[in-house]
Structures are given as C-alpha cells and as structure tokens.
C-alpha cells in the first residue's frame, strides 16, 4: 500500500476493483465503513460478480473478467478528454511534460521493437529525448505532440464509453458513473483510494492493470495525500514481510537484486543500478544502492566480507534466468529437479494447472513440507478418487513432513499491507513435537555444512563463508534476527568533522547511516530503524493520533523510515503549501517540511530547489510513461486473457498479451471459445483463509462445500437447478460442485455476443474437514503476467453441465 489501512478512513471516494475487500480483507474493510460513516464517503465496486463488497457499495458496475485494462483505460480517456485532471499536480509531479523519442510508436496493438519469435520487445525506443547535458527534455506547456501528455491523449482516445461497453460488457451508464466519481476527486480538496488485490495481479497483464490505477490516481492528484493512493491488499498476515525479506526469486532482502550471470563483479552489478538523476538537483535515492548492497553482504558474510574480495560478492549465486513459480514447476516437470522444500507452501493448490503440478512433483526424488498443518501437497501421491486421481504405485517421490509451530507459538514480527511491522509474542506452547522454522532451518544448515566440511563438494566455499554468529547457533532468536535485519555500526561512524555519530556495535537509527565501505551491516535496508538504538519499535503500542488523520506514528514501525503515507511531499503544491485545507498533510513551514508523518523527502530542502516529490525516481517525478521498465509496454493496452470468448475487439490478430511468456506445452492446452464458451474466474470466500481453514471445523461448518456460482440465465440455458451438482471442465481438467444460482452474476453483451460467466471459489481441496473437492486450479491455465509471472487465475474458459443426481 502507498498509504495505510487506517488512512482509508480519510477517503471521499473508495474504489474497489480487482479485489473484494469485504470478503478477503474483512478486518481492514472496517476503514471503508468508517470513511462512509464519518465522512459520507462513497464506495464503488467494479467486479465480474456482485460481491459482498458490492453489497455495501453505493455503486456497482459489472465487467467481464480479464478486461480491467479496457475499463480503466476508459476512465483515463474520460479524465483526459473532459480535462478532469489536477493540472498542477500532473504538470509538476508526473512525467507528462517529458518528450519521448521520435522512433517510439504504437501500431496495431504493438509498441515499437516487437520480436514475435522471442515474444519480447527491444525497448530502446521507449525512452525520453535526452539533451546534450544528459538531462531529459521537457515541455511544461504540455503542448509538444511528442510529450507524454499528448501521447497519452492519443493512446487512450480509442477507449470511449462505447468501446468500454463493447469489450467489458459494463453498461455505459454504470461505467460513466465510475468515471465521474473518480473525476470528482481531481480537485485537490477531495481524495479517492483504490483498493485492489489478486483480482488485478493474477492476469497475463496484471502489472498493467495496476499501472492503469496508478495513472488514474496521478491524473487526479491522489498519490501522496491522505485518503488517496494505490493500495494493494496483501493476502496473508505477513506476506508483505516475506516479499520484503526477498523470497521473490530474483530479489534479495529490501528489493535489492540477485546477481546474474551477466554481472561477474560487484561493480558490474552496481553500475547498472546507479540511476543518475534525469533532471538537475533530483535525489534519485537508488543512488545509495551500493550502501545497502554492501551492508547486506556484510550481514551475510561478516568479517569475511572485505573490500578486497568485493565483500564476498563472488560467493553469491548468480541467476541465469529468473526462477519464478511457473518456471520452477516447468523445470521440475522436465525432470530436472531433485528435491523441493515447501515452507508454508501448498503448490498443489496454489500453482496453476494441477495435472502439471502432480506430474512435476511425481518426478522429484524428495519433497519436504514444513507446515503447521497437513497440506494437500504432501498427500499429492494419494488417490482420493475423482478429487485427486493418481496411481500411488507409479510415484516414487519420498515425502517428509516436518511439523512447525504456528504464528501463535513463537515470537516474531508481522508486516501487514500498510508496511507496518508489528511484533507479536508467543501465546501458546508448540503443539506436540512441532519445531520452529528457524530451528529446523538452522539445524539443517549446520548439519549440511558439517557434511561439506568433512566430505567437501561443489560450492563448499560459499557455505563456509556464511556468518552464523548467533548466541546459540541451533536456535537463533527472533530478537537476534530482527536486530540483524536492522543493521548496526561495525566501527565508530564519524561525520565530516570527525565526530562519532554512531558508536561501534550500536544499532543503526536509519538507512541514511549505512555506508558502502563495509563499516555497517544490515540485511534489509528498508527495515532499518525498526530495531534501532532505542529498541524494537515493532513492539510499540501507543495508539495516540494527535492529527486525527489515522497516522498512529508511535504504533509499531512502518517501513521505510516509519513513514505512513509514501510520496507525501506530493500532498503540498510546488510552493510547499497544502493543496487544500481539507487534505493538509505534509507542508513547508518556512524552515522545514513538517506535518503528522515523516516527510518522504529531505526535511530541510526548500520548495524553491524544485526537487521532485518522487525521490526514488531518477526524474524526481512519477511516471505516466514507464519507459522500458515493464516488459509489455510503457502504456497499458487492452489484451484479452489467453483464453477468451472473443478475439481482441481492438486488435483481432493479437492473442493474449504479446509479451507474456508461455511455455510450449502450455500453449498447446489453451482452450478456445468454440469448446469452452463460458468465462470462469476464481476467488476466495470470506469464510475461509486460502487452503488452511478447510482443516478447521468451525470454518468448514459455515462454508462446507465447493460450489459454482452462475446466473439464472445460464442455469436455465443448461437446465441446472439450484443446489444441483454440476461439472465444470476446461481443456486441462474438470471439477464438480454444487450450483449456486444467483442474480449476482449476469450474462454480459460482449462485442455483440452474449457471454456467460461462472465463479469458482478456490478454498476447497481433498484434505481437511470441509467436503472433498477437486481443487479449482485443476482448470486454470499455466501462463503468468508478462512482468511478475503471477499465474492467470482470474480469467479463463470452461464449459458447464448438470450432473444427474439428487438436488442438494
């Protein structure tokens, strides 16, 4: 989230799309009800289904699953053609004024530089015109036909309300109301928050869905202000934490990059990430990347990391390609993987295309599950009839189950969607013989290292170089690990005058204290300060809120730097004055930047210096045009899902996202609209938490059985009675569930054709207390987002038929 959960209470318009906060985030949703109750805020929901969020909304519009870019582009077009944008904000805080290279173009659905053979772009033309002084060219009048603003007007002009209706099925009046309500916040004295979740990410164009939202918020001036922002609602209580800590395969902690084969030296890695400012006087904060990287290496290798050995960079593994989850299972499917460790991971349920996952797991020599509950994955080899129809005699994979403690049985921290790190204390004893994850991994590490020490082997040197300096090496404590994340001074740190500002051994107070000469360590720079010299701030529980804006600055610690709203310099105009009294937040008081939050800015830089508010970017401003940073284009384009009931109404020749990676064998099992005319989407139910609570009795009671939601019209067409068992099949498999026939799903008119949809909740499997069901990822396609490789769970094709038998 750019903002925080509590800050949603400051919104005037709440827009939920690509998520279903009432259902998937019921506790956080309280801030929506607060905004409505206290401020009279309006809630609008756009979703293929009339959801539980829609049940309490002021306005609802349907759309066909997988067409969000078209809908959102329609809103962008509405804002631009009706000139309902916050002009000053757009001019000064976005790259609207930047001039784009002459050789950049967009034609027939493709940007310049497309290579059909590799399904990828040469992105070199997606760039600004550079002046001889090395800075990017701008036109602050926004009139140059090659400036981003003018290119946008042209690019989005195709998305008229009529075209939006034709592609998405959203009735024109319902779409227009959404656009009008969004536009009502482009005034500087009102704000809109956008809340989304996996409904936007789990598409072959997921990143572009979110890009659209970012563009709308920037055009309305809603980034950096209270009640604004683009707010990603994370699905597990600590999933923000695990992303921060670097479990993404191409990331190190704190969003530093894994070294790659093409970066043989530390300098060759760092030089690519120097990010020189593109305008005079800009901060371009990633220029400090080296300090964070070296501090990370110092934490990893301790005293063995020295300037002479590039701080141990040579011991780091180097990636040949990114091993995202789809690639990982594709490689496994090819029989190239020996063993798999699943730590709190149930891939049989959570990776697309279950048949492929089963085949992949069957080729492993061993599978280890570290989990507090028995997962479907560890029993993938068992025959559960139609729910998991495998032949155990054909599967030789050895499976180990290591029971681990659950979160209530150990101390530690959670980082929630608000980037808020909160400590929690052990509340119960570990169940039976379960052990902490840390304990198991430490034990494993030490045993493996001892074996290598005795017997030698490939890669022994990096293993020996690891610094494992804990009081009890077999039981590193949560407290020790938290301190290590924060980082400390390794020698006395002195300022320019030679005064000691941080004594050797002291915890660092901010990442601003990190150095690139090996005199500091710290695993995760963005967390620095959470466990500084004054103790563990994640344990703070002061709920005072002097500004009344839901800041709660002394409760826990929000990364980075305990900042609750990111980019908050943008809450003031270029002169440093609040855009309005109603949205007053951070402002220049003549001496410094002040307000209820930590400024996202150097606090003493005066407005005259014209340092942009988006200090992480080289431009100092935000990007409406993303240059070459995304694989599938600098502007969003409507691409159909890979399985779609219609050809792309705008660019009929293009199937799916042209830059999405598709493995050969997966391309072959896409279904087409002839055999599979019905759009399917998957989602979570509020009664369950992912695939865990089907093992909890009370949750199984309140939602016991897999079901298939469909409209009354579809049920009539297929002679399906409510409560009847139905079969749903895609080109990859079939599932059976009870028909929930509802007015909350309606057939839509798409490009002149009636299109039906079904909804498939994903919480059911063959292990647990709830009724057995075949997991819905039996049906889903094996293709991911072009940038993040997140599987396309939200839009694919199926067919449906009633299964003879008694109703209910």
């Amino acid at each position: 989230m750019t903002n925080s959960w509590m800050d949603i209470g400051n919104a005037d318009v709440v827009w939920i799309m690509g998520g279903n906060a009432a259902e998937a985030h019921p506790c956080g949703f309280k801030w929506v009800t607060e905004a409505k109750h206290n401020r009279g805020a309006k809630l609008m929901v756009v979703d293929p289904r009339f959801t539980r969020s829609a049940a309490v909304a002021d306005h609802y519009s349907p759309l066909r699953a997988g067409t969000d870019v078209a809908f959102l582009s329609g809103v962008i077009n509405y804002l631009l053609t009706n000139d309902k944008i916050q002009k000053e904000y757009v001019k000064h805080y976005t790259n609207a004024s930047y001039i784009v290279r002459d050789d950049f173009d967009f034609n027939e659905g493709l940007f310049t530089g497309y290579n059909e053979g590799t399904r990828s772009y040469n992105r070199s033309s997606w760039e600004y015109v550079m002046e001889p002084d090395g800075f990017a060219k701008r036109d602050l009048t926004l009139s140059d036909p090659r400036c981003v603003y003018q290119l946008m007007k042209k690019h989005f002009s195709v998305y008229t309300p009529e075209v939006v209706e034709r592609i998405t099925g959203a009735p024109k009046d319902k779409f227009l109301k959404v656009a009008e309500w969004a536009a009502s916040t482009a005034t500087g004295d009102r704000s809109m928050t956008i809340m989304y979740a996996l409904g936007w990410t789990q598409h072959s164009h997921g990143a572009q869905n979110i890009r659209c939202a970012a563009m709308i918020q920037l055009l309305c001036g809603n980034v950096g202000i209270p009640g604004g922002g683009i707010n990603a609602l994370r699905g597990h209580s600590n999933v923000q934490g695990i992303t921060d800590i670097g479990t993404l395969t191409a990331s190190l902690p704190g969003y530093l990059a894994m070294p790659t084969d093409s970066e043989p030296t530390l300098d060759s890695h760092l030089v690519k990430r120097a990010f020189k400012p593109l305008q005079p006087d800009q901060t371009s904060y990633w220029q400090n990347y080296r300090k964070f990287y070296v501090s990370f290496l110092k934490s990893l290798y301790g005293p063995k990391a020295t300037p002479e050995n590039e701080f141990g960079y040579q011991w780091m593994p180097k990636l040949d390609i990114a091993y995202d989850v789809l690639r990982m299972f594709d490689v496994m499917h090819q029989g190239k993987t020996t063993g798999l460790f699943c730590q709190g991971f149930n891939p049989l349920m959570s990776v697309s295309h279950k048949a492929k996952t089963i085949a992949a797991l069957s080729k492993l020599k061993f599978l280890v599950s570290m989990d507090p509950i028995e997962t479907d994955t560890v029993r993938f080899w068992e025959n559960h009839g139609e729910y998991n129809n495998v032949d155990p005699t054909k599967i030789q994979t050895e499976v180990f189950m290591l029971p681990v403690t659950s979160f209530v049985e150990e101390d530690g921290s959670f980082t929630n969607s608000s980037r808020l790190i909160q400590w929690r204390w052990q509340a119960a004893d570990p169940y039976f013989e379960s052990k902490k994850d840390i304990e198991i991994l430490s034990d494993l590490f030490l045993r493996v290292r001892t074996l290598y020490e005795k017997e030698g082997g490939k890669g022994v040197e990096p293993l020996m170089a690891i610094d494992w300096n804990y009081k009890d090496p077999r039981h590193p404590s949560s407290d020790e690990l938290a301190k290590e994340l924060n980082g400390k001074a390794l020698v006395d740190l002195k300022d320019a005058e030679g005064k000691v500002v941080r004594a050797a051994g002291q915890q660092l107070a901010t990442f601003g204290e990190m150095r690139d000469d090996g005199s500091t360590d710290g695993v995760q720079w963005i967390y620095t300060g959470f466990y500084g010299p004054n103790g563990n701030f994640a344990q703070r529980r002061d709920n005072s809120d002097p500004s009344g804006l839901g800041v709660y600055a002394s409760w826990g610690f929000s990364w980075p730097a305990n900042r609750r709203i990111q980019y908050n310099r943008a809450s003031a105009d270029p002169e440093g004055k609040p855009w309005s009294e109603a949205k007053k937040y951070m402002f220049w008081n003549g001496q410094r930047w002040t307000g209820p939050d930590v400024p996202d800015y150097v606090p003493t830089i005066p407005p005259e210096r014209a340092v942009g508010p988006f200090i992480m970017n080289q431009e100092g401003v935000s990007r409406l045009f993303t240059r070459g940073f995304l694989a599938d284009g600098p502007f969003p384009v409507h691409y159909e899902p890979f399985e779609s009931p219609v050809a792309n109404p705008l660019y009929p020749k293009i199937k799916g996202n042209p830059a999405a990676r598709v493995f050969k064998n997966d391309m072959e099992v896409f279904g087409d609209a002839k055999d599979f005319p019905i759009v399917a989407t998957t989602y979570r139910l509020v009664e369950h938490f992912h695939y865990w609570t089907k093992s909890v009795h009370a949750n199984a009671v309140i939602q016991p059985e897999f079901f298939v939601e469909m409209s009354e019209e579809l049920a009539r067409e297929k002679s399906i009675r409510p409560g009847q068992m139905v079969r749903v099949w895609s080109n990859r498999g079939e599932v059976k569930g009870k028909a929930v026939v509802t007015k909350r799903l309606k057939p839509l008119k798409i490009d002149g054709k009636t299109v039906h949809s079904v909804g498939l909740p994903l919480n059911f499997g063959f292990i647990g207390e709830a009724k057995k069901a075949a997991p819905v990822n039996t049906l889903t396609p094996f293709v991911g987002d072009a940038n993040a490789q997140t599987p396309e769970f939200k839009a694919f094709l199926v067919n449906v038929e009633p299964v003879p038998g008694p109703v209910a």
Binding site: I702, E705, F707, V740, V741, R744, V807
Partner: protein, 313 residues
C-alpha cells in the same frame, strides 16, 4: 466508530446482575427487582454488514458449540437454519429494487431478538426455564427446561430450537455471561465492521439515528430502526435500509406479536391462579391441544384466535 468496549481486567469480576435482577420467570410468580437495571441492546446495522459470518463463528466458539459440517444446497447460508448449536445465522436475500433497478444483497444476522415482552417465556410451562433480567436479556435455564417446545410456538421470530440429543431448548443468550462482567456479546466483539454494536438501549437508538440519517442521505428514504412494538420492543434491534418492508430481509416479521394461543394460555393461568404444582395440570392440558412436541395445527391456531377474541394479529 462506536466507542469500543474495553477488555476485562485479569482479576475476577463480580457479575453485575443475577437472580436478584429477574423481572420475569416462566410459569412462576416472582417479585421483580425493586430497581430495574439500565436496559441493554444489541444493534445490528444491516447496511454495514458484509455477511462474513465472524459472528456465527464467535458464537460457536464462545458458547462451546459444535455444529455439524453440512452441505451446500445452492445458497450462502450455512447451516441452512438455526439449530440447537447455531444460535445465530446469516441470512442472504437477493432483491431487485424495482425503484432503482439495482440489485441489493440484503444480509441479516438472525437470532433471538430478546423481546421486552417475550412470547417464549410466556408460553413456557416449566417454572424458571426461561427468565428475563431487568436489563432486558431473556435467558434459557437449561436445568429447568422440560423440552416441551412451547417456547418455539410462543416465539414470533421462530428462534428457539429443541435438541434431539438432550431434549432441551436452545437460543442466543445475548452472552448474558459476558454482559454480566461488562463485556459485549461475542458476536459484537468479532464483528469487523461494527455492523453489530452493543450498549444501553438508549445509546443504541441514538447510534441508529445517525446511521439512518446516513442511509437517507444515500437515497434510502425508508431507512429506519426495527424495534417492533408488538412485542414491547426488542433488545436486539436492526437498522434496515427498507424499514417499511422488513419481510424483505429473509422474512423478518412486519408486525411480530405473540401468538394468540400463548396469550390464551397466559390468560388461563391468570384466571385459574395456578400454583407451581397446578402448572403440571396445565401442561397436560396444553399437551392435549398441541400435537407433538412443538407443532400446533392451523385449526388450533384458529380456535385460539377465536377464544382470545381475535385481539392479536
């Protein structure tokens, strides 16, 4: 935000009400407490409810109830009705509003309304099986229950359920054990959106006024409070978007009132001046006119109406 109720302290708390605070006791005459406690109420704001069923689970957990894992019959309700173990249930109604043309998904938390004039208590022939405290809570006392099922008939909201295991009647207690130590009911505590709030009845009415104002500003001209006078008002109230049509909300009665057969029975006991012992004769009489444990035929109903002079609807 309605001010949250503070968590209890670790040390033991003396219950704030008990036997001495009864104002009604089934099939027995008592001297009501001299001073009535402040009336409490639970307010369920349907317009804030997201149908998450956290209240249902909280109820199971707090009251140590084990419900069966059922099946899906084509709707979101699970279980499909109140049971001896499910004392509160979310009911979902899809309604196409003919005026706006919009679909509305009306989600109501069903359960005991804790009537000021409780039909169950009036119908109950077992001394002390149903009691009402002066704060308004209507509670079932299991040890005194004889499982006859008259409370079911007496209830205008169709709430109590008789267990097939121990043949006792069960329903929501408004968490009288929690309220006695200054807490709100478990469902209220678990509600993530403050669709359920708890306090004094006056506070709840004031809070409801604010909510109704907000709903009217959003175009719900008939928004209002459901506190039906036919049962003397209730200690569980609803804020409804369409207070003129309670029936929309999964059949919430428009004008609930105690069944005439119960009023008749009540009249008879008064006339005969029955003692506790005499009550057993009356039980026999009632058993004769009611076939089965908890079923009254339509004919009985008509006769009762006639005998009671048709004074109740």
């Amino acid at each position: 935000m309605f001010p949250p109720i503070a968590n209890p302290k670790a040390e033991a708390i003396t219950p704030k009400f008990g036997e001495q605070d009864l104002i009604r006791r089934s099939a027995s005459s008592i001297t009501p407490a001299a001073k009535r406690q402040t009336e409490v109420a639970k307010l369920i704001d349907v317009s804030k409810c997201i149908g998450c069923k956290a209240c249902q689970v909280a109820c199971l957990e707090w009251n140590n109830l084990i419900e069966e894992v059922g099946i899906n019959v084509g709707v979101y309700e699970n279980p499909h009705d109140l049971t001896p173990n499910t004392w509160t249930l979310m009911r979902y109604t899809e309604w196409e509003n003919p005026e706006s043309g919009n679909l509305e998904w009306l989600i109501r938390k069903d359960g005991c309304m804790h009537c000021e004039d409780p039909g169950c208590l009036k119908a109950c022939p077992a001394p002390g099986a149903i009691v009402q405290y002066s704060n308004g809570i209507v509670d079932f006392v299991k040890d005194n229950c004889i499982g006859c099922g008259y409370c079911v008939k007496g209830c205008p909201f169709n709430i109590p359920r008789i267990s097939k295991v121990d043949h006792k009647a069960y329903k929501c207690t408004l968490c009288s054990d929690r309220v006695a130590v200054g807490q709100g009911p478990a469902c209220q505590k678990a509600c993530p959106t403050q669709a359920i709030v708890f306090g004094t009845k006056d506070e709840m009415k004031q809070w409801a006024d604010k909510r109704i104002k907000d709903l009217k500003s959003r175009g719900y001209q008939n928004a209002g409070l459901y506190d039906p006078p036919g049962v003397g008002g209730t200690h569980v109230m609803y804020v409804l978007q369409h207070a003129d049509k309670p029936q929309l909300y999964a059949g919430l009665p428009d004008n609930p009132a105690i069944s005439p057969i119960v009023e008749l029975w009540k009249g008879l006991t008064k006339y005969a001046g029955l003692t506790a012992i005499g009550a057993f004769a009356a039980i026999g009489f009632l058993h004769h006119i009611v076939s089965g444990a908890n079923r009254v035929s339509d004919e009985d109903e008509r006769n009762a109406k006639r005998l009671a002079g048709g004074s109740t609807k």
